[in-house]
Amino acid sequence: MILGAACLAVANAAILLGAHAVLVRVRVADRAVNVALLLLLRLFLISVVVLLCGATGFLAPLPIALLSVFALVLLAAFGCHRGVQVPFPDVHPALGVFLAIVLARLLAQVWFFSPYSGDALSYHLPKIAEWTRAGGFTREMGLDTHVTFPAGFELIETWWVLFLRHDVLIEMAGIEFLLLAFASTYALASRLGLNHNFALFAATLYGLTPGLHFQSTACVNDAPVAALYVATMTLVASNSSIALTLLPVGLGIGIKPTFCYALVGIILVWWLARRAKEERSASTRATWLLSGLSLAAGAFWFARNLLWYGNPIHPVGAQGLKGSNPIQFGFRSGSLAGNLGDLVGHRIQDASAPYGPYVNDISGWGTAIVACGIIAFLLSMGSSAAFRRVAAGFVGSLVVVLALVIHDPWSMRFVLFFPAILAIATARMASESRGILGIAVAGLGLQFVATALPKELPREVFHELARQGWRERSMAKLYQLDVPSDSIGYFADSRNVAYLWYRPDFSRRLVYLRAETADELRAQLKKANAGFVYAAPAHSNHYAVVQECESRSWLRRLRGFVYAVD
């Protein structure tokens, strides 16, 4: 573990120094934008390294650590470490202390939380477990219908589990994107005329947006999409070159198609500001090269799906995706009316449910953003042309995304980028009035309290997790998911908890079973040499298969959905 931690430290140092070296070649004049760019470049380099190592079968700590040492030596030889500056900006003391507390709490959440959210356990994380166990990308990624979706965020998560071969730090991937959201909001707010401390206040308000905050430690990818959206909007609003703007676009495409939906608003802002003078990067050629690589990395998953399944967006077709977790394909006015109506009608009040990463039937925007942001937004629209232009982009993206996603209780997680403009508007008004600053600070305090624990981890559950040692910390114990074996068969046809069976150190092998008859299931279990099986099918024909195996004494129920193979 010590060697793994050392490899992680070296690899992160190399990536950070490498990102800085690249930044020197693509940076712009605005320092605030460059901070966001540095974080973007770090995420880009990690994505490329994990993608290349995964595709070539070198996804292991040692090859990457050796590569990192080589990169560090090379970067030092070229003197790249000399220009590094650690910025400690002059922050208002109260805000500085508050930010330090938020950061410390985030790190505690990373340490004590263990993957718990449904989508992550069912289809995001099982592929990471398979990749980590195999040392490279695998065709086997699990049984969920969504396993073939783009996995750009999973690349960053893989980075944080690979070296320790343990998922204790996996939430750091989300924190990286939360930092990007913070830095991008700060840069955008600065660009819209806010001074240093109020731009930081805007970024803090957005960073503590409950939906975004909980997504960042839940191993799901809507917060990363939101962060990349704000980063892209910042680059466009800063009149950066198209080449530089394509850097976050490539990363966003590779994470989730909802990012592409939201691009409409960004294109609108670019079009509105097309006559403004372009702010050129230090090297145009280097910027185009980077953006080309970023787009290629984003397109990787679609190309893979085209190659494997003949459809870049498999399993979604022209009719969308049917089943228990349906997906809409294309524009639907009904979805727009439903999503927008629910948002304005009741979700914005956050009254239906506690906060969590999926913002079930709530907006997840939080007290300060809702109470101050909406009114401040209206007032700012009337008084600043620059704000109006950017706000038009945010509103455009909101409308387009809500028209393109199905109207279900979780649809608001796809528009978690929108509170960023409300946070900026709030900080803008707070900078003009001490009274409004007081109201916003009160709202921020409530948001801080509300973002301590997600609804999936109430205090009792959190205590259970915290009581476990970090090596074995997992929700599996709470769900009583354990068998005395290093391999287990897995038979489920709907959203389930596959990832928990791998154990936090990925030491258990999961054999995914795809059987339509009892004989097929028995044959696959024999072939896999698995002594136990987790069988939790939702479809009636699959349930009948399990029942038949039980009646023929091939499976013996131990508890719940756990069976011994006889």
Partner: protein, 91 residues
């Protein structure tokens, strides 16, 4: 909001803003008969805002502040019980 300029222009802008905020607050709050205090808070907010409009140039900001306090209370009362429950602080 810049309220300088002709009084007619100022009045028109404030009227539009007031309507916007009123509709917004109504949509968000959707006051139920059991929660009369919200109505009372809204009425007081609007009354204070209207009173201030006549005398203060920064009236729109004050009015906005009143609505913000109103929405803050509405939102906090709607959501905080959920958060307290998650944190184990609910009675």
């Amino acid at each position: 909001m810049n309220l300088e300029g002709s009084s007619k222009h100022t009045f028109a802008r404030l009227a539009v803003l007031t309507c916007c905020f009123a509709v917004l607050a109504w949509r968000i709050a959707k006051v139920s008969p059991k929660e009369l205090w919200r109505d009372i808070a809204a009425v007081i907010s609007v009354y204070c805002a209207a009173a201030l409009l006549v005398h203060r140039p920064e009236a729109s900001r004050v009015m906005a502040g009143c609505f913000m306090v109103y929405l803050l209370i509405v939102h906090a009362v709607s959501h905080l019980p959920h958060s307290f429950q998650v944190l184990g602080l609910a009675p």
